[in-house]
Amino acid sequence: MPGVCPLPPEPVAILAAGVVTPIGGDLDQFWTGLLTGADGISAIERFSVSDLKVGRGGEIKKVPAPDERGLRCRASRLLCAAAADLRARAPLAADPARIGVVVGTALGGVEELEEAITETPTLSAAAAGLYDSPAHALARSLRARGPVLTVSTACASGATALGLAADLLRAGRADLVVAGGYDVLCRFVMRGFDALRSLTRERIRPFDRRRSGLLLGEAAALVLMARDADAPRWRLGRLLGHASTSDATHIAAPDPEGRGLEHAIRLALAQADRDVGAVDFVSAHGTGTALNDRVETAVFKRVLGPRATAVPVNSIKAGMGHTMGAAATLEAIMCLLAARHGVIPHTLGFEEPDLDCDLDYVPHTPRVARPRVSLSTSLGFGGCNAALVLEGSVP
């Protein structure tokens, strides 16, 4: 039967994390921002939005200066900034030939492609426009000479990348993998979502009765992963299981029944060798769109069964916007930090319950709780679904 592993694969250790986000330029500021309900949404200043219906988003106003000289691609700079934060917390203690890089993105270096098309085309701009260029820039900055892979499962990319990284480690292709996701807020994507009419003029309200759409944000998030048996005892936690599946229903909208997402969750739990009773907490995709939040809620109720109303579910997108390729990695990191600190960040923007969204969405304030095993879900254009089962290290 597909999805039932003959032997559950070994968990993979997640040693450390590094981020750059609209609510904080490093991991500590990100976590503090989640707990204090920091608002990273602002008027977009970096490019013109005067012709768009919505001109706000989670824009990072100051990207830390990269070590790499001549690194002008914003996506690469975000990745390198997250990597600098990561490296400040953990050494890359392995032969460079055994260090891999796996990152997920929805947009890659598209901003450079836009420049190459609309301005005087240069080879460097055209090459940077390839979606895997930022991953290779990151690998160069880390001096990593192992496998370098870019995953593009739209807004589920940051989860799929962690899963692929785990598989590379299990297959013995690398001893350490720097994995995660990124995306930049640029005119290309703002115009796209503007045309789709998915952006809200109000605040983002995941699972709330008044939810009216999403706002976009930009971020980069990376984790350092190693085989569990080879990893040092200090760690953020472990990736127990993962799965990515397709809806096979629509190019842009999720399956209204959420069958693909449900399948991904069940596959990930099977790989993790955990039943649903082990899940202490769910980090939802929670975009704040009418359909996504309803579909996710229905799927969680089917999967969790009678426990569904007792398991806290949150979304952290209201403070940062939907950071696309970075979102799922940020949410995975949040799950591990929740276990470490014994606090679950609340769902900013959730105030009024909806009849279709009737779970415990951690309203108003952070919740004192220590979720050992977390489930994190993501969805993306093209019917992409991803699920991660994570285990936090309890101090």
């Binding site: 003959p6 085309p121 240069t122 055209a126 292709r173 397709s246 842009a252 254009f381 992409c384």
Partner: protein, 263 residues
């Protein structure tokens, strides 16, 4: 750990359908053309009215694979089939089309979702009802080798019963950008869509980094031209047609060469 075997391969290139259409020497046959464009498959049905050229090529390549494997659509639909899609550059044409349409004020609501690389495999999943493991990887031939290796692992782990490894590359719409890269001079960029159906078998394979490319990979490049991510799948088709061992294939991308080796 179980192994795999190659159950079918489908190839569509700027030279035509199948490896039979490939010339003996692509640079000579190209006659100075920088891009050898593929004919857009004429797929019927209202569902495809918005699909991009690369999506249509992808669907046609998968159908050619099923034809080669003598399988029906029903045999691959459902959660038992994984789809691993690889492209280095095929999203460039839809990205450019969206940018130019948006500049002209003519971008429609569903124009933007087709700019995502994931739109290419999405049309395949919808067409064939594929609901198994699913990923899109960005990169050239070395990444396709990684995808073949991952397909083998998914099958060995029991995550799926079979895997379609699909690659698509289009170049015509961004030919002016590719023309700026002098490294591509003298070897035509050949548009292609290629797919391999990998099923359980007795060959246990894994991926390794190697220093040099295989003769099979060189033969595929000589016959087809530069097809980036499609190269290893064209090579599989050539080997299958000649009765050679297909798994000697290698792939190179951004200075890294990957090979499938016996585990």
């Amino acid at each position: 750990m179980s192994g795999v075997r190659l159950a079918g391969v489908g190839v569509i290139t700027g030279w035509g359908r199948g490896v039979e259409a490939l010339p003996p020497d692509a640079p000579v046959a190209a006659g100075g053309r920088a891009v050898v464009a593929a004919t857009t498959p004429q797929l019927g049905g209202d569902r495809f009215r918005r699909a991009t050229r690369e999506c249509l090529l992808a669907v046609a390549a998968v159908q050619a694979t099923l034809d080669d494997a003598v399988l029906t659509r029903a045999a691959v639909s459902g959660p038992g089939t994984a789809l691993l899609c690889v492209t280095a550059a095929a999203y460039g044409s839809s990205n450019r089309a969206f940018i130019e349409a948006a500049d002209a004020g003519s971008a429609g609501a569903l124009h933007f979702p087709y700019t995502a690389p994931s739109a290419i495999p999405a049309e395949v999943t919808i067409e064939y009802g594929l609901r198994g493991p699913y990923v899109t990887l960005i990169g050239g031939a070395a990444v396709t080798i990684e995808a073949l290796g991952w397909a083998a692992r998914l099958i060995a782990d029991g995550a799926c019963e079979r895997a379609l490894v699909l690659a698509v590359e289009t170049f015509a719409e961004c030919a002016d950008l590719f023309a700026r890269d002098r490294r591509l001079l003298g070897r035509p960029l050949t548009e292609a869509a290629a797919c391999a159906l990998v099923v359980a078998g007795d060959r246990r394979l894994e991926v390794r980094a190697v220093d040099g490319g295989s003769e099979l990979a060189a033969r595929a490049r000589r016959r087809a031209g530069e097809t980036l991510a499609c190269g290893p799948l064209v090579a599989l088709a050539l080997a299958r047609a000649a009765g050679d061992d297909p798994w000697t294939v290698t792939g190179r991308w951004r200075g890294r060469t990957a090979a499938l080796v016996d585990a």
